[in-house]
Each structure stands twice: as structure tokens, then as C-alpha cells.
């Protein structure tokens, strides 16, 4: 189970649909590039809001992409780490969680009260079908180790379930912290203390 996938995604959903439109995200992400608001070597902004339930608006970076994402019919901030993942699963998950969380909090600060994330729940995607086929056996093999790492991340027990049953889809898990109302800032502080390498 210790194999770290080629790509690892973490998505936090919004609690409710915001007044802020997807088109409004483009200038925000463009400004983030100018001001280097989030971690990474930020490259460009690409707009896919015309695609139903798609990646929405993506801030492309060398190491990982930040998306104001509409997949699964849920609006959220999706961070996909593409390169330079730490060699151990705990390190990889902490890194991806921390960067997703950091970006989500930055987005909240752009529209306080309107953009409001649910940090008690997350979706983790393992974009690597060679090592992570979306099968029950793979989940069974990974569950204990991932639960332990995620419990450490959240500072309490978590529930895990497969996000998709279809074996063709990516191996993805829905994480639910047993504590409702997880505070994003506190979670970020917790993760920052555990972070090994940033980029």
C-alpha cells in the first residue's frame, strides 16, 4: 500500500452554491499568479466552465493544479498534485491536503461568507490506474493505512468510502471526519506543523 500514486487529488466542496460565478474565478486566479498567493510555480489559468460537471476554472502550476471544480455535480476546490510527491503516503497526503486547504482558505477570503467550504469532508483521488485500480480489493488493502494517516491529519477518527463503484473511474475515496464543523484554519495549522517539504 505504501506506493504513492503518480497523481494525488484532494477536493473540498462548498457548503452551498455561491453567488460568485465561475467567470469571477478567472480574475482571482490571474491575480493569484501575479501575487503568488498559493504555493507552486504558477503558470496559467484555463477556463472550462462551458463543460458540464467539469474541472471549471484551473490554475495550472508546475507541481500541481488548483481547480474551482464542478465534478460530481459539486462545486469545490480541487488540488491535484502532479509531480514531486513525497515518497511516503503520509507525506504525500499531508502535502496535498495542506495545499488544497491553503487554496480553499484563500478563496474563502476572496468572498467572505459567500465562499464557504466544508472541511469535514473531502474527496481523495489516486490518479494512477496501474497501482490503484478502482476495485473493492484495492480499497480493502488500503483502508487501514489511509484511515490512520487521515485520522492523524484530522486529529480524530474518519470514515472512508469509495467515491465510485465503476471500475473504470479513478480510485477515489470520500473522507468524512467524525467531528463535524472542522475549522479550516486549525486544520491548516495542524498540517503545516507536519509538513516535510513544501514544493
Amino acid at each position: 500500500m505504501t506506493i504513492v500514486p503518480n497523481r494525488l487529488g484532494v477536493k473540498f466542496n462548498l457548503k452551498r452554491e455561491p453567488a460568485l460565478a465561475a467567470a469571477d474565478i478567472v480574475p482571482i486566479f490571474q491575480r493569484w499568479i501575479q501575487e503568488h498567493t498559493v504555493d507552486g510555480m504558477l503558470i496559467d489559468v484555463i477556463d472550462y466552465k462551458h463543460v458540464p460537471e467539469g474541472p471549471g476554472v484551473i490554475l495550472i502550476a508546475d507541481e500541481g493544479d488548483y481547480a474551482f471544480d464542478f465534478s460530481d455535480g459539486q462545486i469545490g476546490l480541487h488540488y491535484i498534485r502532479k509531480r514531486n510527491l513525497p515518497g511516503d503516503m503520509a507525506g504525500a497526503l499531508i502535502l496535498a491536503f495542506r495545499l488544497a486547504l491553503g487554496a480553499a482558505l484563500c478563496l474563502e477570503s476572496e468572498a467572505p461568507g459567500d465562499i464557504d467550504f466544508d472541511f469535514s469532508h473531502a474527496k481523495i483521488s489516486f490518479l494512477d490506474r496501474q497501482n490503484y485500480r478502482n476495485e473493492p480489493a484495492r480499497f480493502a488493502a488500503a483502508q487501514d493505512e489511509l484511515s490512520a494517516i487521515l485520522a492523524d491529519i484530522y486529529g480524530g477518527d474518519v470514515a472512508l468510502e469509495r467515491a465510485y463503484d465503476d471500475p473504470r473511474f479513478s480510485f477515489a475515496l470520500r473522507v468524512s471526519a467524525q467531528t463535524e464543523g472542522v475549522d479550516g484554519q486549525k486544520l491548516l495549522a495542524r498540517l503545516s506543523a507536519r509538513a516535510v517539504s513544501v514544493q
Binding site: 506506493i3 480574475p27 490571474q30 499568479i33 503558470i43 496559467d44 466552465k49
Partner: protein
């Protein structure tokens, strides 16, 4: 932990696997600085791995130009193209035909190596964006395992061969051109005679003359299905067009042959390729397409050259072997055809039915078009659609040049059900082929050459038009809009009723994004005529221009007057006068929003325009072929590290033969692939004549090849392997030196 290479070894055709292994070796050689960047760039392009905007390490962020400091530093994958910069992977889908399994694999790749989006191009390819070059060999292996190639998807070679999505199901076609397009694709793929072009070469097939069909008149080589009675027998064949093209100098193709039989099809394509390789421009890429050669020679002289060349084309069983397999090319519908009969119709079905459904020539079946906005769909939609396809149509999926997905062989009785299902996954929009179904190239989103945001404008126009679609008169609803980000015409703006291509103008000290308005192009009759450029308008005025044009067209057109005729009758002067109010440039202080492009909040700049890779690098045939030899030598080195000495022998021998072949082909193009023949030709042309002799070592290095060829080892040990590796290296060096002495400076 296994690799994709190991896991898919049994599923990848050997030839395809070799090409990918060679490319992977070239990646390593390039990283080690042992392969010239231009040679690698051309090899990369020929694998469909293209550069993207900002890959020179610079991007204007709206305030200043910023350096993008990629981790690999100075390492490049081509001139001014940084290694780690995200790239585009183009994937050839011949005539747009896909199976459900292929669609699933493409979706997996979008998920794992790109940004989750599959983009359909105007040549029926799929493009994945933001792909890292290091990921491309595995990506290609996964495609090869389902019979998809990226070979020659870009670069100076034969691009994806296109055909009408209705081929085989059309009421008006002469015959189904799909198997011929398939045969030509397989025949020309990686063919020796298509390796030395000065520029790309596009081929299309059409089944009929009247519709847009395959757009053969805008292609380098266009084949229009015909039949003719010969000796009392109806023979299939093609009218052969040559020298068409869009771009900055659009030209209509000329008729090379009024009727070529199906037996003559592949030999003619080969002869045209040989003439193009031999006489086409190589140095000036702006004049290197075959249309310039046809213009320069005149069609009669070009035809004479092709006829002469046909006499020299070596016999090849493949020229006609495919004809025996034409009968195997059949379509397997998932269900029996059945009429639509009283099933309750879902909301929106009628509008969709009117624009997105085509009743096939086969009774009880329809073809449906899935309107895919800007040609984009998600990996998730790809998986879901593959499942829908399996249940309703089987493997009868096609991609269209209008950037849509087409499902063929839908039983009519299933139309309401399939509509519900495609709508459920966001692919059920009505309006296919109408004014809302706008074609656009990538433009400034990802293309290095983009001047204005073709996709941003398209998204804006599409949104506005969808809101009003039911209010638009039929005459307007039927118009076609096509948008390119620059003059190169990837969005095919010349053949739209209303076309736009990106340019820029200066206002004060600022640049403003503009679009040139091109009117009256003809989509029908295989792109029968090209539109007129009538003036450049600020990008932000284009929606108003569109409204003004369509309103006046509706108000003034006579009954049955189509848009082309109306434009022609109105005249360029009058149209320009109509556009004049929109062409006025405000100052930055008056209207700062005019100085940002559609969908982009940055202040507009043209500083991000880079050097296009569309034309590929002009690299000599020798440089390309010797690079293959060096890749094989590198594979031998890897085998040596693994202690796999038989593999060392195999790869080193292959490397020497390929190096010899590279030299032989500078004098004798048709040497072929047979090792014995290559060695014989090398011996007689270069060794016996002492052309390959080193000043001091004389013929010693050449004899390394002869020794290995004439006396293959019974057993291969470590010492032998080391020695062979060293000899191979010396042989390759000797070939390089000889080529420079014989042919002058290597162009690289």
C-alpha cells in the same frame, strides 16, 4: 511493481512498440545532451507531442513578463521549449472512428496525464493538454494497446486522415470511403516516402460532391468517391484533388486525376508524396506546403511529375492487398433497427431531434450528434458515453471536424431513451450544426501562435446565441461560425459563413485584441469557396458585429438568397462601411475592458506569442534516420546495464544497420527495411567506392557492420557485448563523418 511497458507488452503491435521504445530512448538521450534539440523536436512532433504557450519560460501576467522557472532549468525539448513546460499530446483518430474501449482509454489518459479534458480538433484528432513530456511514452503505449497511434500526428508528415462522419450511413454518398481512409492511413503511416517533407500533409476523403462531406477541396490531397463503368463493369475510384489548403494563402485544390481506380489509390498517394518530398520547398516553411509546389509547377506539370514518379514507385503488395479486406469493413449495430413509435418524448426532445438527428440510409437507424461545447468533454463524460455507446450503438462512435461526437446506428426507437441518457451526462444540447455550434481552435488558451482568444470569443458568442436561439430566424440559425486565434486557420474560418481570426491593433500605447471578419465562405460542396476578409474589429465588438450582420441579412435577403450570395451581392465596400462604426478604437483610459481579451482578465499583450511548432523543424532526412540508430545504440547500452547480452547484440546490430540505412537513403530512397539489402547497398555504394573510408582507419569501421552481419555470434557474453557496443559507437560516428564529407553540412 510492473511498468506499463511490461504490462502491455503482449497487446502492443511490435512495430508500434519499437517506435515508442525508440522515442523513450531519445528522451533519455536528449536529457543527457546526446541528441540535438532540433532533431529531438522533430522526433517529438512526429509522435504528436507538441509545445504549448509559455513553454519558452515566459508569461505576461498582466503587469509584467514573468520568468517561469521550471525545475529542469536549461534542459530543452526543442528550440526555446523548456523540458518541464506542459505540452499538448495530439492523438490521431483516423476518420474520427472510435470504439467504446478506445474512448475509455483516452478518458483514462486525460484523467491521469492531462487536465481531465479531451479536446476534439478540426481534424478529428483528440488533444490532451498540459501533458509532461516524461509521461508521453507510457501514454503512447496505453493507446497502442488499443490500436491508436500518435505517430505523425504533428510534424512534417501525413497528419490524421479525415472523412465525413456520415460515411457508410449517408443517403447521398457514392460509396463508403471509411475503409479506403483506413487503408491509406495504415499504408502511409511511418512510410519511408513521407519522412522527408518540408511541411505537413493533410489528406481527406469524401463520399459525395454536394455536401461539406470531407472538405476535400481544402486539403493537400483530397479523394472524392466516384464510380465509372469500365469494360462493362462498375468500378469504384476517386477524383483526386491536390494542393488545397487554408492558412495565410488559402487555395482551392486542383484536380490531379478525374478518376483513379481503387487499385491506383495508394500508388498515386505514394507518388504524390515522393514528388512533394523531392521537389517541395524545404528551407522556407512559409512556402513549403504542397499547394505552393502545385502553384509553382502548374497542375499540368505537377501531374506529369506524378505520372513519371508512378513509374518508379516500387511494387508493393499493400497497394492492392487491402481491397481483399474491404468486405471485412462492416458495422455492427448494438440493436436491430426499429422505427420510433409512440414512445413518450422527453422535454427538449423535439428541438434536439430537429438538429441533432440524421436518418441513415439504413432503415430504422439514425446517427446522432452530441454537441460538445468548444470540442471539450471530461474524462468522466468519456467513460459514461462509452457505456451508453455499448448499450445503444456498439463501437460506432465518430468524432467530427466540427468538434462534436457522433453516434451512428442508433435504432430509431431508442432515440428518446438515448437522448435522456446523453442529456443526463451533459451532452444532450440541441443545435448541432447550427449557429450555436461554433468551431474554434485553441487560440491563446494554449497555442504558441495564438494572437486572440478564439475560445474566449466562442464561449461568449455561444452563450449569447443559446439565449436567443428560439428567436432567431431559420436563415440565421443555419449559419456557420468558425473562429481561429490567428491567421493560420486551424479553426477553418475561411469556410464558414461568418469566420473570425485573431489579430491585434494598437491604440495609444496599448495593443488591443481584434478579430478579422471573414464572410461568405462555403462549407458545402466540400468547402467549395473561401470567404472574404472585410476588416478587423476589436474583439469586444464582435458580438455586436455578428448581430448587425445577421439582422441586415435577414432584413435584406431575397427569398432563397443564401449568405454567400448575399455577401457577394452586397460587396466588400458596403460591408466594410457597415463594420466601420465598430472598428473605431477607444483609448485605454476610455474603455480599459477593450484591452483585455474574452475570458481573460489580464491586460492584453502580444508578448506571449511564441514560435510555432506547427511546421515542425526542418531537419534533414539523414538527421532523423541517424537519430533512430542512436536510439537503438542507447537501448543496447541499457541492455548492457541490465546484463541482457543477447539484447545488446540485437540492438547494437540494429543500430549499425539503421545508421547504414540513413546514409544509403541519402542516395537511394527505396532501400527498404531488409537488413541484407541495406548492408549490400551500403557495401556497394559507400564501402567499395571508399566513400565511407576514414582518413586513418580506412574501411575499418564499416567492417564492424559486415562482421556482425556476416557472422552472427553463436553465444553472446559480456566481453563480446562490450566490444560490440564500442564498435557500434565508432560505426555511427563514422557514418556521421562520411555523411558530412559526402553531402556537405548536416542540416539540423
Amino acid at each position: 511493481m510492473s511498468t506499463w511497458k511490461e504490462e502491455l507488452a503482449d497487446q502492443i503491435p511490435a512495430e508500434m512498440g519499437n517506435l515508442i521504445d525508440t522515442f523513450e530512448a531519445q528522451i533519455e538521450l536528449r536529457k543527457q545532451g546526446k541528441l540535438d534539440e532540433k532533431v529531438f523536436a522533430e522526433q517529438r512532433l512526429r509522435k504528436g507531442a507538441y509545445g504549448q504557450r509559455y513553454d519558452n519560460g515566459q508569461r505576461h501576467d498582466g503587469v509584467r513578463t514573468r520568468e517561469l522557472s521550471y525545475p529542469s532549468g536549461e534542459l530543452v525539448k526543442g528550440p526555446d521549449t523548456l523540458w518541464d513546460a506542459p505540452g499538448m499530446q495530439r492523438i490521431k483518430i483516423p476518420y474520427g472512428g472510435l470504439t467504446a474501449e478506445q474512448l475509455e482509454v483516452l478518458s483514462e489518459l486525460a484523467d491521469e496525464y492531462a487536465d481531465g479534458i479531451l479536446h476534439i480538433t478540426t481534424r478529428q484528432d483528440i488533444q490532451l493538454h498540459y501533458v509532461h513530456i516524461d509521461d508521453t511514452p507510457d501514454l503512447m503505449r496505453r493507446l497502442a494497446a488499443v490500436d491508436i497511434t500518435t505517430q505523425e500526428a504533428c510534424g512534417n508528415s501525413v497528419r490524421n486522415i479525415t472523412a465525413c462522419t456520415l460515411a457508410g450511413v449517408c443517403h447521398d454518398e457514392v460509396f463508403d470511403v471509411s475503409p479506403y481512409a483506413d487503408a491509406m492511413m495504415r499504408f502511409l503511416l511511418d512510410h519511408d516516402d513521407v519522412q522527408d517533407f518540408g511541411r505537413k500533409f493533410k489528406v481527406a476523403f469524401s463520399g459525395c460532391a454536394g455536401h461539406a462531406c470531407g472538405l476535400v477541396k481544402m486539403h493537400d490531397l483530397g479523394l472524392l468517391a466516384q464510380t465509372r463503368e469500365i469494360d462493362g463493369e462498375i468500378k469504384r475510384g476517386f477524383t483526386v484533388f491536390v494542393g488545397g489548403g487554408l492558412g495565410t494563402v488559402p487555395q482551392q485544390a486542383k484536380v490531379l486525376a478525374e478518376f483513379a481506380t481503387e487499385e491506383q489509390l495508394l500508388p498515386i498517394a505514394q507518388a504524390v508524396s515522393r514528388v512533394f518530398a523531392r521537389l517541395g520547398e524545404k528551407k522556407n516553411r512559409n512556402r513549403a506546403r504542397i499547394k505552393f509546389l502545385v502553384s509553382k509547377l502548374g497542375i499540368d506539370e505537377f501531374r506529369r511529375e506524378v505520372e513519371e514518379e508512378l513509374k518508379t514507385v516500387p511494387h508493393d503488395e499493400r497497394h492492392t492487398a487491402y481491397l481483399d479486406r474491404l468486405g471485412d469493413f462492416t458495422y455492427k449495430p448494438a440493436k436491430a433497427g426499429m422505427a420510433l413509435n409512440g414512445t413518450p418524448l422527453p422535454d427538449g426532445f423535439s428541438d434536439w431531434y430537429r438538429t441533432n438527428v440524421y436518418h441513415q440510409a439504413q432503415s430504422g437507424y439514425s446517427t446522432i450528434t452530441l454537441n460538445t461545447p468548444l470540442g471539450d468533454f471530461t474524462a468522466m463524460q468519456g467513460f459514461q458515453l462509452a457505456e451508453i455507446a455499448r448499450r445503444y450503438v456498439g463501437d460506432n462512435i465518430r468524432l467530427s471536424v466540427e468538434q462534436n461526437i457522433v453516434l451512428r446506428w442508433v435504432a430509431d426507437a431508442d432515440l428518446p431513451a438515448i437522448y435522456r441518457e446523453v442529456r443526463e451526462i451533459g451532452l444532450g444540447d440541441a443545435g448541432a450544426g447550427t449557429i450555436v455550434d461554433i468551431t474554434a481552435c485553441p487560440g491563446t488558451d494554449t497555442c504558441k501562435l495564438g494572437i486572440a482568444s478564439s475560445r474566449g470569443l466562442t464561449a461568449e458568442l455561444r452563450t449569447r446565441l443559446i439565449e436567443r436561439i428560439n428567436l432567431l430566424p431559420d436563415a440565421v440559425r443555419e449559419l456557420k461560425i468558425k473562429v481561429s486565434g490567428c491567421f493560420n486557420s486551424c479553426g477553418q474560418h475561411h469556410v464558414a459563413d461568418i469566420g473570425f481570426f485573431g489579430n491585434s491593433r494598437r491604440s495609444g500605447n496599448h495593443k488591443m485584441p481584434h478579430f478579422q471578419v471573414v464572410l461568405g465562405g462555403q462549407w458545402q460542396e466540400n468547402a467549395g469557396s473561401y470567404g472574404l476578409a472585410v476588416g478587423a474589429v476589436p474583439a469586444k465588438h464582435i458580438p455586436e458585429v455578428l448581430e448587425a450582420l445577421t439582422n441586415r441579412y435577414v432584413a435584406e435577403r431575397t427569398e432563397d438568397e443564401n449568405f454567400q450570395t448575399w455577401v457577394k451581392n452586397l460587396g466588400r465596400k458596403e460591408i466594410k462601411a457597415m463594420l466601420q462604426p465598430y472598428m473605431k478604437l477607444p483609448s485605454f483610459e476610455e474603455k480599459p475592458e477593450y484591452f483585455s481579451d474574452w475570458g481573460d482578465s489580464r491586460v492584453y499583450t502580444i508578448d506571449d506569442i511564441g514560435v510555432g511548432e506547427c511546421a515542425g523543424e526542418v531537419v534533414s532526412l539523414f538527421s532523423l534516420e541517424i537519430a533512430r540508430a542512436e536510439s537503438a545504440h542507447f537501448e543496447a547500452l541499457l541492455a548492457l546495464d541490465d546484463g541482457n547480452y543477447p539484447m545488446v547484440d540485437q540492438q547494437a546490430y540494429k543500430a549499425m544497420v539503421l545508421a547504414a540505412r540513413a546514409l544509403v537513403r541519402t542516395k537511394y530512397l527505396d532501400v527498404g527495411d531488409d537488413y541484407g539489402n541495406i548492408v549490400n547497398e551500403f557495401r556497394s555504394r559507400f564501402y567499395d567506392t571508399e566513400l565511407v573510408y576514414d582518413r586513418f582507419a580506412k574501411g575499418k569501421f564499416a567492417r564492424y557492420l559486415f562482421k556482425r552481419h556476416d557472422q552472427p555470434p553463436a553465444q553472446v557474453g559480456e566481453d563480446y557485448a562490450h566490444q560490440l557496443i564500442d564498435e557500434t559507437q565508432l560505426f555511427i560516428e563514422n557514418i556521421h563523418s562520411a555523411e558530412q564529407r559526402i553531402n556537405g553540412v548536416i542540416v539540423s
